[in-house]
């Protein structure tokens, strides 16, 4: 709650700072390229029905490093994300969750539109994502041989879209969404109950991975920017014993353009 209040205060501070009318800009100048490091913290919930129909929830921080670059006509982004927590639980049963995500996005400018008399730059492109998770449930005590665990992965092709609203030379509002369309998916399931092979090719209907991001970026200097915002991540495998995880995060990142 304290973190949310601080973020709101930061947002207000940035908004009321000097809003200077913007010059006409190229996509390369608008796009926040560079090396970035990011930290996020928020609420997380998961249910893997291979182990349990119960919802496990708690906090799950995330750490990521990324690199993006924009050439004259297109850009690309690589990002590695790692998440781990032992602070998720169902009643008094705790579980440890680990997630690893690797993204590669290609970004193409497709145009712009006006919002409150300022340009919103729109980017679109294909994406690739590798998502791996592991859950260890401490029914007895952590690390015991008598516990249960579940894991799975999803390798996806999809699309990403980004909206950059350039308020002035120092301030952007940015929104990003990534959605998988086709995935190779595997997770643990009981071979006695499902007479199917694994991994399997699935569409977004059966295997869904959505990332949504809304944030404010402030350029401290021309090459250094800080970002604060909100991210939603939803992953769902609706096959075998279904898996679903969802998190709301407050995110903070630092980007250096070289």
């Amino acid at each position: 709650m304290k973190t949310k209040s601080q973020l709101l205060l930061l947002a207000f501070f940035l908004i009321v700072s000097n809003l200077i009318g913007q010059d006409s800009l190229k996509n390369k100048q608008v796009f926040p390229a560079g090396i970035s490091i990011e930290y996020g913290l928020g609420k997380y919930s998961v249910r893997d029905e291979y182990i349990s129909n119960e919802k496990y929830s708690g906090t799950l921080p995330n750490f990521s490093v990324g690199w993006s670059r924009f050439h004259n006509k297109h850009g690309y982004r690589l990002k590695l994300e790692y998440r781990r927590s032992t602070k998720i639980s169902n009643n008094k049963i705790s579980a440890e969750v680990k997630q690893f995500v690797f993204n590669q996005d290609f970004i193409y400018p497709i145009g712009k539109f006006l919002l409150f008399s300022k340009d919103v730059f729109v980017f679109l492109g294909p994406s690739m994502e590798i998502f791996i998770y592991n859950l260890e449930y401490d029914f007895v005590h952590h690390g015991s041989n008598l516990n249960a665990d579940a894991s799975g992965y999803m390798v996806s092709l999809g699309i990403n879209s980004e909206f950059i609203y350039k308020l002035n030379t120092k301030l952007n509002i940015e929104s990003f969404v990534r959605l998988n369309l086709l995935s190779v998916v595997s997770k643990e399931f009981d071979g006695n109950r499902y007479d199917e092979s694994s991994p399997q090719l699935m569409t977004v209907v059966s295997a869904t991975n959505i990332d949504f991001d809304l944030s404010i970026r402030y350029y401290v200097f021309k090459k250094l920017s800080v970002k604060a915002g909100y991210r939603l991540e939803l992953t769902r495998i609706n096959k075998w014993d279904p898996f679903i995880s969802c998190s709301d995060n407050l995110i903070f990142s630092l980007t250096y353009k070289f």
Binding site: L8, K43, S57, N91, S117, F139, D241, I244
Partner: protein, 339 residues
């Protein structure tokens, strides 16, 4: 214009930050059958488990001990209650299985833990001049050691690997002067796989030890010699503390054959099991499952080997340190014994 931007951004942030989407998207499970699951599990053990008296377990007192905890168990807390209650049986055959199918053992035998790292098939392979031949989907490895000693490693008595593939291995070693059957770290499987192997080493019928299902003695026909030939040269069976269930039963049977010597360390000691008409698997009201043995296999002296295991004829203990140094003392002894 500035005011509209303020309002727009503030509203968006408030919406996302305060709603907490994960609460909307993933709803908690509303049903609670925890006390029913507990009652069913306790009753199942009370009805079918063959060793309550042998192990001097007062199962009624376990009801009194765990029922209050089951009443207070919400959500997955019932797993802790079930596992801890079933752990009182100290039986590696007893499991809890989640609704989805993940097995959770409730107990690990002390000898199993002791010998968990005291054998490595990769170290054993170093004793061969040539690579071992692998069959049975990787569950059977065989070869010939210098000195014309055959070697067959059987990783499991599960599925039908030995029924289908043991003959291939035995054919390869049929002209050896002696044979090592290695069942270290073999966690068991079916009676039929044991029969497929034993039947190749006997020249006359061999009586089976006593076998009870739900307390009733079952009359079993003896082992009969089978196959294109019988291997009647000296045999060493290698065992250790991780040899369990059918991995206990097999050496007990083989010890009855005069050409066989059992070498290694005492097996794990698990003599309860399951049959097709009295299954150990039992579904609880919520869909969770428990596995509680319905059968009681005995040694030839009439005693169950539960907890006791099967002792070797020649005890050669082996440790993790031996394996870390690349030494398989038990295999070395078997080779020298047969030379």
């Amino acid at each position: 214009m500035r005011y509209r931007v303020h309002t727009f951004i503030t509203l968006i942030f408030f919406t996302f930050i305060l709603i907490s989407c994960e609460k909307i998207i993933i709803q908690p499970n509303e049903s609670n059958q925890n006390i029913k699951d507990f009652e069913a599990a306790w009753e199942r053990v009370n009805t079918v488990y063959p060793y309550l008296e042998l192990k001097q377990i007062n199962w009624n007192s376990m009801y009194l001990k765990y029922h209050p905890r089951a009443e207070q168990a919400y959500g997955d807390e019932i797993y802790t209650v079930l596992i801890e209650m079933l752990t009182e049986l100290k039986d590696m055959h007893v499991h809890v299985k989640t609704e989805g199918g993940e097995y959770m053992p409730t107990y690990l035998m002390p000898r199993w833990i002791k010998d968990k790292y005291a054998f490595d098939p990769i170290i054993a392979r170093n004793y061969f001049d040539q690579e071992l031949i692998i069959t049975g989907e990787g569950r059977i490895e065989y070869g010939i050691i210098s000195g014309n000693i055959g070697y067959i490693f059987m990783a499991t008595f599960d599925e039908d690997y030995l029924i289908n593939y043991f003959s291939e291995a035995l054919d390869y070693v049929k002209n050896t002067k002696a044979l090592i059957l290695d069942i270290r770290h073999n966690n068991g499987g079916s009676y039929q796989n044991i029969e497929a192997v034993v039947s190749r080493f006997i020249s006359s019928p061999l009586e089976k030890p006593e076998f009870y299902v739900l307390g009733e003695l079952i009359d079993l026909p003896p082992f009969q010699p089978r196959g294109s030939f019988q291997y009647l040269n000296p045999v060493v069976v290698l065992i250790n503390g991780v040899s369990y269930s059918s991995g206990d039963f097999f050496p007990e049977i083989m010890k009855q054959i005069s050409t066989v010597t059992v070498v290694g360390d005492t097996t794990g000691g698990g003599s309860s099991g399951s049959t097709s008409y009295a299954r150990a698997e039992y579904r609880l009201p919520s869909g969770k499952m428990i596995f509680v043995g319905t059968t009681d296999l005995r040694r030839y002296d009439g005693k169950p080997w539960e907890w006791i295991g099967v002792a070797p004829d020649i005890r050669i203990p082996q440790t993790e340190e031996d394996i870390n140094q690349g030494i398989d003392k038990q295999l070395e002894y078997a080779i020298n014994f047969l030379k």
